[in-house]
């Protein structure tokens, strides 16, 4: 039992932080913010290439498929730092959404087909799960998969797909026509070229989202990761969703810590009435509460990471707690971070808003604190009359 990073993990963190300090300063994030959508992706491309050279996307890909075979804690370390830098990168979609789904669900051949290009060539991927109602859960999927000969034909619309307009491969969760709830679910990998994607105009352009339209898209059998009707489908999909959700929570704690640190520094530097504003007791106490919220969220984020890494039976509950705590944390640190900055933080020119928007946006994606808390209620057995078939992932 050890809740502190090992020396190797600590070194990984230091290395990632050092790379991002030079490759991903706020000025680079600003360029992405101030670019047109397509242009933004190209501005973020050099960072991704560097990450690929450093083998970060390969981190949790098994060694037989060209990866490093490391665990979820190492992934968490990288994701936290990326959140801390509000990095504009397809790492989150690729390494925490696409890779886990393929790893959980794919055959060895499929893993080799889809993961090796990620590990070795920086191919990107994502997960298309949520639809118009903004729910990241298998039971809510309406997109259909229809068998036609050896292939499958997908029809539907996915929303809020991370990097959905640029990812090379998209893991799509769909269901057999006529099924509902947890029945009939399957997963398919669709190439970007086979679908129509439409970038969304979002408050956090450093994490692009897109709608993905599947209009009669034929998918060959070797791109089917989970066959619709497979009894293990829900379990497999939920495990991938848990990894993806935990990663959002971990990234949020990084972003929240950055907001806290920037605000703390501002409170030390900024003088008013002839003294640093951080010497005013009311501000001090609020900074302590921000600090506590960040530590609370971080503790639960790494607890969730550990339950995933060790496949602990509490993983579903731990992930929901981590995302809920990250949501609580952003609510407080965005509020107080912006308020304590005064007018300066209110301007476009100041970098603070990149962090605020990432934190807010991440709360709303992959199940907000509100939804996670309801999931915790359900997992604690406190629901007396919940309709069947609505188990949280």
């Amino acid at each position: 039992m050890d809740f502190e990073l090992t020396n190797d993990q600590q070194e990984l963190r230091d290395a990632v932080r050092a790379v991002l300090a030079t490759a991903c300063p706020p000025s680079m994030v600003r360029q992405v913010y101030e670019s047109k959508a397509d242009d933004g992706a190209s501005r973020a491309a050099p960072l991704w290439r560097q990450m690929v050279q450093l083998d970060w996307p390969a981190l949790t890909i098994p060694e037989p498929f060209g990866g490093l075979g490391l665990g979820y804690v190492e992934l968490a370390v990288v994701v936290e730092e990326l959140g801390r830098a509000v990095a504009p990168t397809p790492f989150v979609s690729t390494a925490t959404q696409f890779v886990p789904m393929v790893r959980q669900a794919g055959t060895s051949e499929q893993q080799d087909t889809f993961l090796r290009p990620v590990a070795e060539a920086g191919s990107t991927g994502t997960l298309a799960l949520a639809e118009d109602d903004g729910r990241w859960e298998a039971a809510s999927v309406a997109t259909t998969a229809r068998p036609v000969g050896d292939s499958w034909v997908l029809d539907g619309k996915k929303s809020f797909v991370f990097d959905g307009a640029t990812a090379d491969e998209v893991a799509v969760v769909a269901r057999q026509e006529g099924t509902s709830g947890d029945e009939g679910l399957g997963v398919f990998v669709v190439a970007q070229a086979s679908l129509t994607s439409r970038p969304a105009d979002v408050i956090d352009p450093s994490q692009p989202l897109a709608e993905v339209l599947l209009d009669n898209v034929a998918v060959p059998a070797d791109r089917m990761l989970v066959a619709p009707g497979d009894p293990r489908a829900v379990e497999t999909i939920n495990r991938a969703i848990q990894e993806a959700t935990a990663a959002i929570a971990i990234g949020m704690t990084g972003t929240c810590r950055a907001i806290f640190e920037i605000t703390l520094q501002y409170a030390k530097d900024r003088e008013q009435y002839g003294r640093p504003i951080g010497s005013f007791q009311a501000l001090k106490h609020r900074l302590v509460d921000m600090y506590l919220a960040v530590e609370r969220a971080t503790s639960l984020a790494y607890f969730a990471a550990l339950t995933i890494a060790e496949d602990d039976e509490r993983r579903g509950l731990a992930v929901a707690m981590a995302k809920a705590a990250a949501g609580d944390c952003q609510r407080l640190v965005v509020q107080d971070g912006l308020q304590l900055h005064g007018g300066v933080g209110f301007t476009w020119e100041h970098d603070l808003h990149f962090y605020l928007k990432r934190a807010k946006s991440a709360n709303a994606l992959f199940g907000s604190a509100l939804m996670q808390r309801a999931a915790i209620v359900s997992r604690l057995g406190l629901v007396l009359d919940e309709p069947a078939g609505s188990e949280a992932p």
């Binding site: 949520a130 109602d133 903004g134 729910r135 929303s159 809020f160 969304a200 105009d201 979002v202 408050i203 956090d204 989202l209 008013q272 009435y273 005013f280 007791q281 009311a282 501000l283 609510r331 509020q335 912006l338 308020q339 005064g342 007018g343 933080g345 209110f346 301007t347 476009w348 020119e349 100041h350 603070l352 808003h353 605020l356 807010k360 946006s361 709360n363 709303a364 994606l365 907000s368 604190a369 509100l370 939804m371 808390r373 309801a374 209620v377 359900s378 629901v383 919940e386 309709p387 609505s390």
Partner: protein
């Protein structure tokens, strides 16, 4: 205590509503050409302000010769509430109408009244308030923009920041230091400066959302020369006027902030069923309780305003007024926060570039998340929530200074 209005006030309401129905600008007209900032008055707004002025409906509490009709405080309340309910602005230059014009009428010369105050009331000119400075923050007494009296003119050098509407305003009601040797708050004066005076330069400061519609500005003054006659009131007496200006603002602001909150709440209640329908029952109950909580706050803000108003009507001091800015601005902020949270994943989408509201380019056209971020303008400016709490603690509760 009474809840209902008496008959004469209801008669006033009907008279006004009838006039309003006949004369108001249409929503389409307003939306087609919204004001771009609080210093901007598009043609329809200029016409409308003038129409109100001529009919005695712009400032009904004032005497007829200044465009009013000597309306009683209760009548003014009814008037402001009905204006807000009708979703029509009195002016798209609220600081001009609410602070600058009355200050000039109170303190200024006849020439200043003729050239600056009345044109605001007639919708001909717009003004901005030059108060905050970099480094001085909310501390007006620390301002350092200098105006040096040189014969019959002032030479002005310095910088203002967070100046609302300066990017479109015609002139600035400028607080500047005229006696650097006096105690901090004693050497301050107000000078009227036309924005097109050589040496004045305005740099917009886009906000963290909707940067395409900047409202705040930095204003730089480099060897700006204005006639000495542009001094408002007495030399070095600006501090009293600042307090007067802010009092004008507070007197006006409580009703409009209550009504703005009310309007947001109505929009939220309209949108809520759609949001709630996407939630599971357990989530929905919690989300609905959050919305209900905001509703309670909104009603409480209104009742608190009414209580303070009742005390003022009796000539008493109203500590409730001091709470109003704090409570209403923080409630507005919480409303945006909760709305965005309940809205869920869709809250991350931004309003389309160039989306325009019915009479302001932003605000009504903004998403809830954008409204939340923009609401920090309310809790930071004109005395931040922290400063309000200090003031209430010391002035109202009588706690000792730190």
């Amino acid at each position: 205590m009474r809840l209902s209005f008496d008959r004469s006030v209801e008669g006033f309401r009907q008279t006004f509503l009838a006039w309003l129905a006949d004369n108001r600008p249409s929503p389409e007209e307003m939306a087609a050409d919204p004001a771009l900032s609080s210093g901007h008055a598009p043609p329809w707004a200029r016409r409308w302000t003038r129409t109100m002025f001529d009919a005695g409906w712009l400032v009904p509490g004032w005497p007829p010769e200044r465009g009013g009709r000597n309306a009683s405080p209760l009548e003014q309340l009814v008037y402001l509430e009905e204006m807000a309910r009708a979703d029509v602005p009195r002016s798209t230059n609220p600081q001009g109408l609410g602070i600058i014009a009355p200050s000039i009428l109170d303190y200024g010369s006849e020439e200043q009244i003729g050239s600056y105050a009345m044109p605001i009331l007639r919708g001909e000119r717009t003004g901005c308030l030059g108060m905050s400075e970099p480094g001085a923050g909310s501390d007006l007494a620390a301002l350092s923009t200098r105006a040096v009296l040189d014969g019959d003119q002032f030479v002005i050098n310095g910088q203002k920041v967070w100046t609302s509407g300066a990017n479109h305003a015609d002139f600035c009601f400028l607080f500047c230091r005229t006696d650097p040797s006096a105690a901090k708050h004693k050497g301050i004066s107000v000078v009227l400066v036309d924005i097109d005076t050589p040496g004045v330069s305005v740099r917009p400061l886009p906000e963290l959302v909707a940067p395409e519609y900047p409202e705040l500005n930095e204003v730089f003054f480099t060897d700006v020369v204005v006639p000495a006659a542009n001094l408002v009131g007495t030399l070095n007496d600006g501090w009293a006027m600042a307090n007067g200006s802010l009092a004008h603002e507070r007197g006006m602001v409580w009703v409009s902030s209550v009504m703005a909150l009310d309007a947001s709440m109505r929009h939220m209640l309209d949108a809520a069923p759609g949001w709630l329908s996407k939630l599971r029952s357990g989530e929905r109950a919690v989300a609905a309780a959050m919305v209900a909580d905001l509703y309670v706050d909104t009603q409480a803000v209104r009742c608190l305003g009414y209580r303070g108003f009742g005390k003022l009507m009796r000539g008493g001091s109203a500590p409730e007024q001091a709470l109003m800015k704090l409570f209403s601005s923080e409630t507005r902020q919480r409303l945006g926060l909760v709305a965005a949270e309940v809205e869920g994943a869709a809250s991350v989408t931004v309003s389309p570039q160039g989306a325009r509201g019915p009479f302001l380019a932003v605000d009504e056209a903004s998403t809830w998340m954008e409204q939340y971020f923009r609401s920090f303008g309310l809790t930071i400016s004109a005395g931040s929530s922290e400063i309000q709490r200090n003031i209430i603690a010391e002035k109202v509760l009588g706690l000792p200074r730190s």
